[in-house]
Subunit: 181 residues, 2 copies
Amino acid sequence: MPTITEPVSFTFRDEVRQSDVAAVRQLVHETGFFSSAEVDIAVELVVDRLEKQAASDYHFLFADQQPAEGTAGRVLGYACFGEIPCTVGSYDLYWIATDVQFQGQGIGRKLLQQAEERIRQRGGRHVYAETSSRVQYASTRRFYELRGYDAASTLEDFYGPGDGKVTYRKILPAPGQFALR
Amino acid sequence: MPTITEPVSFTFRDEVRQSDVAAVRQLVHETGFFSSAEVDIAVELVVDRLEKQAASDYHFLFADQQPAEGTAGRVLGYACFGEIPCTVGSYDLYWIATDVQFQGQGIGRKLLQQAEERIRQRGGRHVYAETSSRVQYASTRRFYELRGYDAASTLEDFYGPGDGKVTYRKILPAPGQFALR
């Protein structure tokens, strides 16, 4: 019989901390979905934000476990997004990942919803998310498709032979409009 | 009667010089095709190469006018390309531009051909070039289409309302194969 886990409590945090460098490296690596070069890039964006602060093109959102008294809250998941240079209102969702031990609890969904809300508040109209066409990424593609994203383009063999790039896009409701929940 | 201009003589150069920072800024700006944010990015890539040298992701090719004795050769055009991070053999043609005073002499075509050859020698299989769907960029799109590039994807309103992104792709002949000239 599968273990029934109590849903974990967490809070959102926008500010990036020095400890996120190691937390993001471990979390992204442990998903098993990313190459070491990709893990390095995920970490570089955290470092860019820490160094440049508000001048960085990368914005973050962390889901922190509500800490037990006297302990630090563990990072359960995070999203990284930013306006694509030389566009007006097109944002890239560069990263979204949930700790493998806490998947299936809606953390990714809530991170995505909150990230989209922040993008909308900044004047973003479109959110783009790129992923692989390989069968291993079917759950990632389904994640976006269930949340209003369309596969706007596919470039075959982009990442490598047999490994195409699928670009998902969601058109956000304009400010003042309300999305159906 | 139109003036008949003698074709200008030029040589190719792969190394980036400090003077290219100003040359690229002026050349790209004067084409009239790029916003000031885009011009800044073109210049940043030159600076990245100068600072990081071989560790930079950006490779360059310049077309220098054959200088008259005792003068420096003027930059007539340039291309900037590099392997797209986290791909195997996919290259982006980040920039290609010819001095407005020397357009129509085949400099862009020769720069593109030479850049593709360098990409092929590095193991590149695909070359990607992004441009705008706007009517002002019809000549740019035609430039790629005449040289074996296909419009592999179009993302509407990507750069802004009414301003889509067209991604062109050329599949290069494998090493040992020869392209038809």
